[in-house]
C-alpha cells in the first residue's frame, strides 16, 4: 500500500517546528500555481518569479505565526496578495498590458493549422482583456477560475462571504466578456 503523502498543513506545521527542508515540499506543490497567479496579475514573468521567491521567504520568516487551526492554501494566498500589494505600492501603479505582444506567451511546439492560429489569437485577446480588468476583478477571476481556489477560501482571503465572492466572480466574468468582445470587434474592423 502506498504511503500517504503529508498534507500541506502537516508540512507547514513541521516547518514551523524547525524542520525547514520540508518547505521544499511545499515549494514543489505551490510554486507553479503562485507563478501563474502573479503572471496573471502583473503580466510580468520575470517579476513574478521574484514575487514567488518573496512569498516563500516570508513563509520562512513568519512561520511561527502559522496557526494550528489554519488552512495552508488560504494562508499562502494571503501572503501572495500582500506581496503583490507591496509590489504595486513600490511601483506606485498597477501595470496593465494593452498589447498582446507585451504579454507572455506560452510556446506551443505543435505544428500550426489555421484553426490553431485563430485559437491562439483568441487566447491572446482574452489575456489582453483580462489584463484590462480592474485588479480586484482580475484577482477574483484568477483565484476562482485559473487557480481553482474554493469560494470559501477566497471569501476568507477577501474577508467576505462565499455568496459575495460568487457575485464578484459573476460580475468579473461579465466585465471580461464585454471587454473581450469589444476587443474582438475592434480587431475584426
Amino acid at each position: 500500500m502506498a504511503e500517504e503523502l503529508p498534507t500541506d498543513h502537516e508540512l507547514m506545521i513541521a516547518v514551523r517546528a524547525g524542520d525547514i527542508p520540508r518547505l521544499g515540499d511545499l515549494f514543489e506543490r505551490y510554486h507553479q500555481r503562485l507563478f501563474a497567479f502573479f503572471v496573471r496579475l502583473t503580466s510580468q514573468p520575470s517579476t513574478s518569479e521574484d514575487l514567488v521567491q518573496l512569498v516563500f521567504y516570508r513563509i520562512l520568516k513568519y512561520r511561527h505565526t502559522y496557526r494550528d487551526e489554519g488552512k495552508f492554501t488560504a494562508w499562502i494566498y494571503h501572503l501572495a496578495r500582500k506581496v503583490a500589494a507591496d509590489h504595486w505600492r513600490k511601483q506606485s501603479n498597477t501595470p496593465i498590458a494593452t498589447d498582446p505582444t507585451e504579454l507572455p506567451e506560452v510556446v506551443d511546439t505543435a505544428p500550426d493549422s489555421a484553426e490553431q492560429t485563430a485559437g491562439r489569437e483568441d487566447l491572446a485577446l482574452l489575456r489582453v482583456a483580462l489584463a484590462q480588468l480592474p485588479v480586484e476583478q482580475r484577482e477574483v477571476l484568477v483565484l476562482s477560475r485559473l487557480q481553482q481556489v474554493e469560494h470559501r477560501d477566497i471569501a476568507q482571503l477577501l474577508e467576505t462571504t462565499p455568496g459575495a465572492v460568487k457575485v464578484r466572480v459573476h460580475r468579473a466574468l461579465k466585465e471580461l466578456r464585454e471587454v473581450y468582445f469589444k476587443l474582438r470587434r475592434e480587431r475584426a474592423a
Binding site: 514551523r16 517546528a17 524547525g18 525547514i20 527542508p21 518547505l23 521544499g24 515549494f27 510554486h31 507553479q32 507563478f35 501563474a36 503572471v39 514573468p45 513574478s48 518569479e49 514567488v52 521567491q53 516563500f56 521567504y57 520562512l60 513568519y62 511561527h64 505565526t65 496557526r67 494550528d68 494571503h78 507572455p104 506560452v106 506551443d108 483568441d122 487566447l123 482574452l126 489575456r127 483580462l130 477571476l141 477560475r145 485559473l146 460568487k166 457575485v167 466572480v169 459573476h170 466574468l173 471580461l176 466578456r177 473581450y180
Partner: protein, 305 residues
Amino acid sequence: MNCQRVQESFLDHQDGTLPADESAALRAHLASCPTCQREWAALQEITRKLDALPVPAPSPRLREQFYAMLDTHERQATHSGNPFAFARSRLDRFFEALLPHRPSLQFAFSLALLAGGILVGARVLAPEPATVAVPVVDPSSKEEIAALHRRMDQMGQLVADSLLVHKSTNDRLQSVLATMDVANPDRKLLADLVSALAFDPSVNVRLSALEALAPHTKVDVVRAGLLTALPRETAPLVQVGMIELLAAAGEREATPILDKISRDTTANQNVREAARRALAVLRAPLSPPTDNQNASNKPAQPILT
C-alpha cells in the same frame, strides 16, 4: 425564478453545485427566456476560453533561487559562527514541544504559572516577623554595609550597562541576556532595556529585551516604555509579545493604542487578533480582590518565544 436570480445562479449551475430543485427551475426558465439563453451561451463561451488559457511556467531560475535561499537559511541557523542563533532555535523547538498549542490550554497554563508565582512569591518575599532578634550594630557600621551593598549592585549593573552599547548583534543580545541575571535592576538598566526594545534594529535583540522586561512591568518606566515602543514596532512577533505583556500587566492606558491596532487593516492579522484579545482582557470588569480563582478576569501571561 426571475432573470437576475437565474443569471446569479449560472456559476453554481455550471459547477454542478446548484441544488436539484433550483437546477430544474433554472433549466425551465432558460427554455423559455431568450435573454437568459444568450447570457448563458456567452458565459459558457468566456469561461471555456478562460479555462483554456495555457498555464505559464516559471524558468529554472526560480527553483535554483529558492533552494539557494533554503540552503543559506539552514547554514545560518546551524553552521554559521552564531551558536546563539542555533541555541535559540533549539530553545524555540523545546518550548514549542513543551507548551500547549491551543489558546484555551495556553490560558489555563498561564493561570497556573501565575498562581504558582504568587504562591512562591508570597512565601519567599514574606516580611520577617518583627520579633526576630536583631544584633545591635552602630549607625556608622550600618551605613558602611549599605554603601558596600550599593557598590556591589552598581558594579554588576555597570557590566550589563556597558555591554548594551556594543556594536554587534551578538554582543547586544548577550548584554540583554546578562541583565536577566540581575535580580533587582535599577531604573537606569531598565531604561536601557526599554531603549533596546524601542530602537534596536535586530528583532532578536528586541524580543530578548522584551523577555528581560517581562518580570518588571510593575515599574512605571517599563510600562511607559512598552506604551511608547508598541506603535513604533514593525515585527509582528515583537508586537504580539508587547501586546500580551501589556494585557498581562493590566495596563489600561494601552487601550487606545490597542484599539487603533485592532482596527488597522494594514496590520498583521495575528497582531490585530492579539490586540483584540488584549482589549477584551483590559476591558473586562475587575474581579473582587479575594476571588483569585476567577479565570475569566485574569489576563493571560505572555508567552515569549
